[in-house]
């Protein structure tokens, strides 16, 4: 009974697709040429994955987004 009460209203799907963090040394040198690293953070259709799914710190997420957009211009990722 108590359990049922607790769960009421928590209908939101929990999304727990946390991706592995890139290595610390890769963070400092993140570049549009690191195609394999960047691909880990895009969906199959080439969308940039939200931080909710990637689980990376804000600073790195911004760097990732920037690098992915640059790589797109040069035809390296979708």
């Amino acid at each position: 009974m108590a359990d049922r009460k607790k769960n009421r209203g928590s209908k939101r799907k929990s999304v727990k697709v946390r991706r592995p963090l890139v290595q610390p040394e890769a963070i400092a040198r993140l570049n549009l040429r690191d195609v394999e690293t960047l691909k880990q953070f895009t969906t199959d259709l080439g969308k940039i994955m939200p931080r909710r799914l990637t689980g990376v710190p804000p600073k790195l997420q911004r760097q990732l987004a920037r690098a992915i957009k640059r790589a797109r211009v040069m035809g390296l990722v979708r």
Partner: protein, 106 residues
């Protein structure tokens, strides 16, 4: 002086055996605006992830160079004129390869 890296995609008109001549021309362009090329890294022909201007692949070459930032606009203007370049992207290179940050004096 700041460190940059430029990634070029060659135009279809440049044959792959003319790469050296192309590299020299770009080196001259960078030198003309007062920059120095540290290294040239040919990356070969790679398929594009998506077609760019109906092309499916391109020859990539990377230039690492130092340049006074005020000259950057001039360099980009010059590169725009160059018809051997299909696409170019120049970004700041905060930790250039081969350049170690000075060790703290003990």
């Amino acid at each position: 002086m700041k460190s940059y890296e430029a990634l070029f995609i060659l135009a279809e008109t440049v044959r792959e055996d003319q790469m050296d001549a192309f590299n020299e021309r770009i080196r001259t362009e960078i030198n003309k605006v007062g920059g120095t090329v540290r290294q040239i890294v040919p990356m070969g022909r790679r398929p594009f992830a998506i077609p760019l201007k109906k092309r499916e692949s391109g020859v990539y070459v990377r230039f690492d160079f130092d340049l006074d930032p005020v000259q950057m606009a001039a360099l980009q203007e010059r590169l725009k004129m160059n018809e051997d370049i299909f696409r170019v992207q120049i970004i700041r290179d905060d930790q250039p390869t081969g350049v170690k940050s000075p060790a703290p004096s003990a």
